[in-house]
Amino acid sequence: MIETSTLWTVIIVLGIGSFGLRFVFTGLVGSRAMPDWLLRHLRYTAVAILPALVAPQVVWHVATDGVFDIPRATAAVVTLGVGLVTKNVLMAVLSGALTLYGLLYLLG
């Protein structure tokens, strides 16, 4: 059982902390100019963080107990490939989903 007091402490402190992390730059830096070297790094935040967030899930998936899963890995490659070629988000999602379900059906 989770103690009620522990739970509320976690909810409140985690809430404040998460807001703080989200607000730290937009709130405190605001419209002040940031140095060029920092902006140059920030340009690559999205293309670095999001693939890094996804990569371990593609390679060792939790749903398969951390074992490499052919349908999931193939679906990831197809999604990325279609997205790169067509630049179309919806096409990429649909191709990825089709690959995942197709392979899960064929191999499962």
Partner: protein, 238 residues
């Protein structure tokens, strides 16, 4: 005001993030179910989703509390999972930093992976957007996501039925993110950033508190910036 026929940025944001509706529903429901299974009542479960509004961090905190981890460890771990939000904040600052404080605070509250990726790809694609248009677009992008996050946490907590595992919805988020970022690879520097980040994230997968993600993200950003500089120097010589 170039054209009156153009859609408002707010509505464009809603349209561009609408694919995430299908993903947010099962995940919010799952949190509701797992939270009630862990003994939280409906009020506590809802407070969790409304105050923290971060799926991965909420799952982390809940799991550690169930394992009776010390409160400090619960908080450090969950905040570490959310550390990427500070990087999103930094990356959004050049685009929306000039907005009024209350708008920046509102945007900060609703900064999640989905709104960030939808927002940043639009801002990069259309550098001429005005600051109010960017804020409107960003708020549009969270409109289909955040209310559903609340609503389906509630439904999960009350109804308590899980989506069957055979639907493989666990993989919906990776597919959506990959589809969203693929069109963002415009230069060799973007590719280098992603490749280095992926490689480092796999090598650091064992680092505790999800800090591997932050290390990988920073490594990727450095790789991107260095490649950009290198390409510039090469371009200058020719």
């Amino acid at each position: 005001m170039t054209s009156t026929t153009r859609k408002s940025p707010y509505r464009e944001g809603i349209i561009d993030s609408s694919p995430f509706i299908l993903l947010i529903i099962p995940f919010a429901t799952l949190f509701g179910v797992i939270a009630t299974e862990a003994g939280l009542n409906v009020v506590e479960t809802m407070a969790f989703s409304i105050v923290v509004i971060a799926g991965a961090a909420q799952f982390t905190a809940l799991q550690l509390m169930q394992e009776n981890a010390p409160t400090a460890i619960v908080l450090i771990s969950a905040l570490a999972v959310n550390l990427r939000m500070a990087m999103y904040s930094a990356s959004l600052t050049p685009y929306i930093g000039a907005a009024p404080l209350w708008q920046r605070a509102l945007c900060a509250y609703v900064t999640v992976d989905q709104s960030y990726v939808v927002g940043i790809s639009k801002f990069e694609r259309e550098p001429d957007m005005s600051v109010p248009a960017r804020v409107a677009y960003f708020l549009g992008a969270v409109t289909p996501i955040v209310p559903l996050w609340y609503a389906f946490t509630f439904i999960g907590a009350v109804v308590g039925t899980r989506v069957p595992e055979s639907w493989a919805l666990d993989f919906a988020i990776p597919i959506a993110f990959l589809a969203m970022i693929a069109p963002m690879f415009r230069t060799a520097a973007h590719v280098a950033a992603a490749l280095v980040a992926v490689l480092v994230s796999l090598l650091t997968a064992g680092v505790p508190y999800s800090l591997g993600l932050i290390i990988a993200g920073l490594a990727g950003m450095i790789a991107g910036a260095q490649t950009e500089l290198w390409l510039e120097r090469r371009g200058a010589k020719v």
